[in-house]
């Protein structure tokens, strides 16, 4: 069974009388453990698709099966709980909370993880210990008590990745993760995502950068709200 199956996803925005169709019927199957890049020019609807995949936004019509279950019928709060459990987000603008230390930013999602999942996921490790392990792995252990403003762009994005990993999600969604980074930091971030993929995580990256897309196994190209091409990347 596919991890995610989208069928006929449409998204329409209304501004007064004007209707804009951002997504015009997307069918997409994502297997567990895939690394997918969604590419396309700006305004093509790729970010909207990512937010729909991340259960942050609802399509106007279509169906979304997560592990074979239709999720669009669920309430907002049920979607919130699914997000906490299944999905880790990495954003272009990092979205680190300025008054929290690096470690506390990483621990932040834990309070939203439903209790049963928390018990299951952290049965053999203390969450705090796990957070330190991730930071250690991402080369941030000496920065754990720093505030975000004291970090470089690359460190900020690595902190955001650590936060995305905190709840041990099935799926990692990254929206232009290298958009605000210099090329060296960007490369480092993509290497981390690649490594996470190798460990079995499902990763979806939205980008307009060909270099970034080349890390993925499969590249989904979107134009004017439709998938125009699906191809395998040469690098993998």
């Amino acid at each position: 069974m596919a991890l995610i199956e989208l069928n006929g996803i449409k998204k329409v925005y209304r501004h007064g009388d004007i209707e804009t169709e951002i997504l015009k019927g997307i069918d997409l199957k994502i297997e567990r453990g895939e690394f997918i890049a969604i590419v396309g020019p700006s305004g093509s609807g790729k970010s909207t698709l990512l937010y729909i995949l991340g259960l942050l936004d609802r399509p106007s019509s279509g169906s979304y099966l997560l592990e074979g279950k239709e999720v669009l019928k669920l309430s907002d709060d049920e979607l919130s709980r699914l997000r906490a459990d299944y999905i880790g987000f990495v954003f272009q603008a990092f979205y680190l909370i300025p008054y929290l230390t690096v470690l506390d930013n990483v621990l932040l999602p834990l309070q939203y993880l439903p209790r049963e999942s928390r018990k299951k996921k952290f049965s053999n490790i203390q969450p705090e210990k796990f957070a330190e392990e991730i930071l250690n792995r991402l080369g941030l252990s000496d920065r754990k008590n720093f505030k975000p403003e004291q970090l470089s762009g690359g460190q900020k994005q690595r902190t955001a990745i650590a936060r995305a990993l905190m709840n041990k999600p099935e799926l990692i969604l990254a929206d232009e993760p290298t958009g605000q980074l210099d090329s060296a930091s960007g490369k480092a971030v993509m290497e981390i995502l690649k490594e996470l993929h190798r460990e079995g995580k499902t990763i979806i990256v939205v980008t307009h950068d060909k270099e970034v897309a080349s890390y993925a196994q499969r590249i989904v190209e979107i134009k004017d709200g439709r998938i125009v091409r699906c191809s395998s990347s040469s690098k993998n």
Partner: protein, 396 residues
């Protein structure tokens, strides 16, 4: 839970100015509420003290209309009133007195004391407890004995450290034998010294201190059965109105005292109550506005929390918790300020200084209620934010 609190406090400390104004807004209301409840409690305490001193079953008749200056010098009442009242059924411990500040002296020194010519029962009726020697006997009254019961200040002045019983003092020019000393009574609420008094039998007073012409300043009696209280008071009033004009006397009963004092405290309560409620409501609006601005400036943060899996309820709880911290901080700061301000404020209101727990509890409850109410609407609004739009609101 620990993480939640830690994160909450960091957030409030991060926005120091906002938190400061939020606390300040509530603080005024909290402080004024504490002061008003303390003032009311203080004046109730005073009323109860006065009533206790008076006795719940007692009636006091003083010369002159109430609120018209010192009544000690007025002698509108007379023994005729006393005799007529004594014929009423259902009363006991009837007594009367007259007073004049008089020079009291021993062989070597002299002082000014309030000398009272009193009827039988005076000491027991007013709750003077004999500490040394004895009180008056019927024989003292009948035989016009020149005997005196004195206060501690008098005995300590003339015979410090000695037993005054049997000693002689001169009241005016007449020698009196000291037969008793009463227990210290301290001061009246108006500051009169209750221990600088000398009591002698009324008839003896008439013959030695001054001619009384059968006049008295104060009459007092108690009622056997308090259910007959108002009937008896009306009968007494009828007797007095027969002998005097209505402005010549005042009937003081616990009911009157209570009415008078609670009228005062009701005025207090109304005035200060309106003031502090207004302060709290205004504070609540200020707080609400601050929280509205806050949830909008932090909209991306709320969007992020939703992206991380926060449900509506968690967003609401989060923001209400922030306001709860504001409420508790205001309550604590307000209580400290209240404790510091109570003495000066209550003293200026002529009310005994009290620190009623009730005041602090009421203020804390109000503070929490106002804060939760004020933050609820911004919190609810925040919980309804669309996460995708909220994330776009980040100010870089």
């Amino acid at each position: 839970m620990f993480f939640f609190l830690k994160e909450l406090i960091s957030s409030l400390l991060h926005n120091k100015v906002r938190t400061f104004f939020a606390i300040l807004g509530i603080l005024f209301g909290v402080v004024s509420l504490i002061l008003i409840v303390a003032a009311i409690e203080g004046s109730n305490l005073q009323a109860n003290r006065v009533i206790k001193k008076l006795g719940p079953d007692s009636v006091l008749i003083v010369s002159g209309a109430i609120g018209k200056g010192p009544k000690g010098r007025l002698r509108n009442l007379s023994l005729k009133d006393v005799r007529e009242i004594s014929k009423l059924e259902g009363i006991f411990a009837l007594t009367y007195g007259i007073v004049k500040p008089t020079t009291v002296s021993s062989l070597s020194s002299s002082k000014f004391s309030a000398v009272f010519g009193v009827g039988e029962n005076w000491l027991s009726s007013w709750n003077y407890k004999i500490e040394q020697g004895r009180g008056f006997t019927l024989k003292d009254f009948r035989d016009l004995k020149k005997v005196a019961v004195i206060g501690h200040d008098v005995s300590d002045f003339f015979w410090p450290g000695e037993n005054p019983i049997g000693k002689v003092i001169l009241i005016g020019k007449t020698p009196f034998r000291v037969i008793g000393v009463y227990k210290k009574k301290g001061k009246t609420p108006n500051g009169h010294n209750l221990d600088n008094r000398v009591f002698i039998p009324y008839r003896v007073y008439d013959k030695t201190v001054e001619k009384t012409y059968d006049k008295v300043s104060i009459i007092r009696f108690r009622v056997l059965d308090t259910s007959n209280y108002s009937t008896i008071v009306e009968e007494v009033r009828a007797i007095l109105l027969k002998n005097h004009s209505p402005n010549d006397f005042t009937l003081i009963t616990p009911v009157v005292v209570k009415k008078f004092l609670s009228m005062l405290s009701a005025t207090f309560a109304l005035f200060l109550g309106i003031a502090s409620t207004t302060a709290l409501i205004v504070g609540g609006f200020v707080l609400s506005a601050i929280f509205y601005v806050n949830v909008y400036t932090r909209q991306w943060e709320i969007g992020l929390r939703k992206a991380l899996g926060a449900t509506r309820k968690k967003v609401v709880i989060r923001i209400l918790s922030e306001s709860l911290v504001v409420a508790v901080s205001s309550a604590i700061t307000g209580s400290i300020l209240g404790i510091l301000l109570i003495p000066s404020i209550l003293e200026s209101l002529n009310v005994p200084v009290v620190y009623p727990a009730k005041a602090f509890i009421i203020a804390a409850i109000f503070s929490v209620a106002v804060c939760l109410f004020a933050a609820y609407f911004p919190a609810k609004r925040a919980s309804e934010f669309n996460p995708v739009e909220s994330l776009r609101r980040k100010i870089q």
